[in-house]
Amino acid sequence: MFDKEKVTQIKEAADNWENTVIAKTLAKAPEKKPEFKNSSDITVKRVYTPADVAELDYERDLSFPGEYPYTRGVQPTMYRGKSWTMRQYAGFATAEESNKRYKYLLEQGQTGLSVAFDLPTQIGYDSDHPLSEGEVGKVGVAIDSLKDMEILFDGIPLDKVSTSMTINAPASVLLAMYIAVAEKQGITPDKLSGTIQNDILKEYIARGTYIFPVEPSMRLITNIFEYCSSNVPKWNTISISGYHIREAGSSAAQEVAFTLADGIAYVEAAIKTGLDVDDFAPRLSFFFNAHNDLFEEVAKFRAARRLWAKIMKDRFKAKSPKSWMLRFHTQTGGSTLTAQQPDNNIVRVAIQTLAAVLGGTQSLHTNSKDEALALPTEDSVRIALRTQQIVDNESGVTETIDPLAGSYYVESLTTQIEDKAVEYIRKIDELGGAARAIERGYVQQEIQDSAYRYQMEIESGERVIVGMNKFKVSEEAPKGLLKVDPIVGELQVKKLAELRASRENAKVEAALEALRKAAQSEENLMPYIIEAVRTYGTLGEICGVLREVFGEYQQTVIL
């Protein structure tokens, strides 16, 4: 962005400054650390100058908002036109209670729903399965059948809200239930908008709620791509997630690298089944984390956008600009929150909110201050939502687009993170792609090494976490945490027994049998799953049939 001669001059001047002024200063008072490094293992320099971005070409590398390679944002007017979607992830206990929380959040000005499911639902077990014991309704709402889903969205017009569902291995079943609930509300699938997470690869890597082996899982995912492209065109069919990879301990650069590598695997799988890239790629969405290192995070989002655009255009030859755009949801970093002095978490979340907004997110969930202790209470969820509203309405950062562009530091970081990600993706390609690299444990190993290093830095005091390993106080146990009544499990089991007694079981059996046959063939499974859901076949029954046909995934553990 600068002419060569000028850059050379600046470089010389910088060297001169380092050798004189800085050398003298350091001789008198050394800096706090011999080297400053960020999570991505990038050495952070004392000061950045035009010499650090000498190679940057404005039109090629940055361009304008809404223009390839989208470094500055995917929409032409960004938040000047429309604020990001404020979407708090919520759901617990029964469908009835979660329904109440959703209505509360919508009244508070939230603009989209985000459904959290309990673990049995996420792993395709009914509430009465032995492994569900103690887990029903704990980390999200328990959904066993269409009945529960009808209650969950009771009084919420599904053509008016967009709904994000954090569901992966059984994503097809929950999407089918959503479509069936809409049907009952008299809404056709083409009117529905929302997202299913549907990202199985990161479950194998980091989150652990997998069911089936890789191949059938990829088939279910591409079945959804195909079904939605003709029937539910406004639905985001996958949310390729770096969030959990980061929570598992990866660096920012690894978050970009492994997420995009997963994305590549999905695109390849879909193309292999005969889909045209421009038919499904515009519905791919992403999900990233926001941690505390503000500039590294902003650079991460920008690097991810630029790199994905190049991948889609050059590697997959996508023609539609919509296929090139990386649209993403952000959640603030759960693992950055401390159980100690939980009020401090409000400040952390505010910084992370800024990072997400300065990084150009399309939607945001802000964590509540008490999440290192328990599920958030209504009060703390409100503070988290207000944090977003303050950044949006009072901070002024939304008034211009990509305000950190042109910062020597941020541009230099953006390029370095992109380069690191490119290197990782090359390595993963060599190993045979993301799925194979995961089966071998390569990705997990890289993440665990980072996680262990981070923990050791905290324990040695090299990394300061305020309130945890420095600035500690003795404190009382916090009061008023949300508790899920253990009775929820019993209630849910009872409901399930009633359902099994009252539905037309012959119809259920027939639908499940049809599904089994389809699973053994090459057919798209979505229509069969929707049919099974309509008959009030349960999630566990549907996944059970698929478990019998597909088998289950075996975890790769490398420590």
Partner: protein, 312 residues
Amino acid sequence: MDIRAGLQSGDKRACARLISMVENEDEQAIGILKELYGLTGKARVIGITGPPGAGKSTVTDKLAKLLRQQGKKVGIVAVDPTSPFTGGAILGDRVRMTDLSTDPGVFIRSMGTRGALGGLSKAAHGAVKVLDIFGMDYIFIETVGVGQSEVDIVRLADTVIMVAVPGLGDDIQAIKAGIMEIGDVFAVNKSDRDGAERTATELEMMLDFNIRSQYRPPVINIIAKDNKDVDKLLEAVEKHYVYLVNSGELSQRKKNSIKNEIIDIFKYAMVKAIEEKSQSSSFIEQLISDTVDKRLDPYTAAAKLVEEFRSR
């Protein structure tokens, strides 16, 4: 806890405790083994080895399940390396055998190599004996096929299964270098992957150059995670056993195994005695410093040491 009674009444705690005691070289444990030695020799011992990532634990898991269907009791000793720096280890083979852990007819034990001189082989021998006494019909010993100590362990098996996998490239070379000779049955796992045919062919070719008796080790393609053709693998193991019995090689192997074990125990006792001695006696100190100063050479020093031991 009364370990003898526990062992005979099928108490897994007693069995587990005795294995620990053997591993920790507890005198009392050796006493129990001496006493119950007559009860050993009934179990079939099967070694499973191969490069990391070949899927050995999954193969073991599936074979064990097949044997359970036949009503056999199965013991498994899974060996993983101990960190030479900290003495700690992460033993992760059970991850692949989760459903077996609650099967009353299965006993799984993870073991670290612990790095002691000949220690592992001794501990593994001990564990096999304990499981044998405990009434297991089949005992699997699973190790990573890289070092000499693994080869030693596998030597105490009646049948050794070498698990290979396509696409690990140089591993075939490693197999050739070390373990080719001791494989009685070869399994090419993950045989749905590219390169499976080539791996099998290469193994067959190596076996062509490696004829050691009228028995030729078979090469079997399997997909352990899908339980595909694992029954064929088990069949091959059984066939090998029949061969061992009919050819008289079994008694030869048993004899060799016992010989190795006696020598191992002896060697270990000697090394230990020397170590103990070198802490207390100036004799060894003197030998060492003489050798350092070139007044002696290591050969002469060792000869003097042997003499010293003999004379006592």
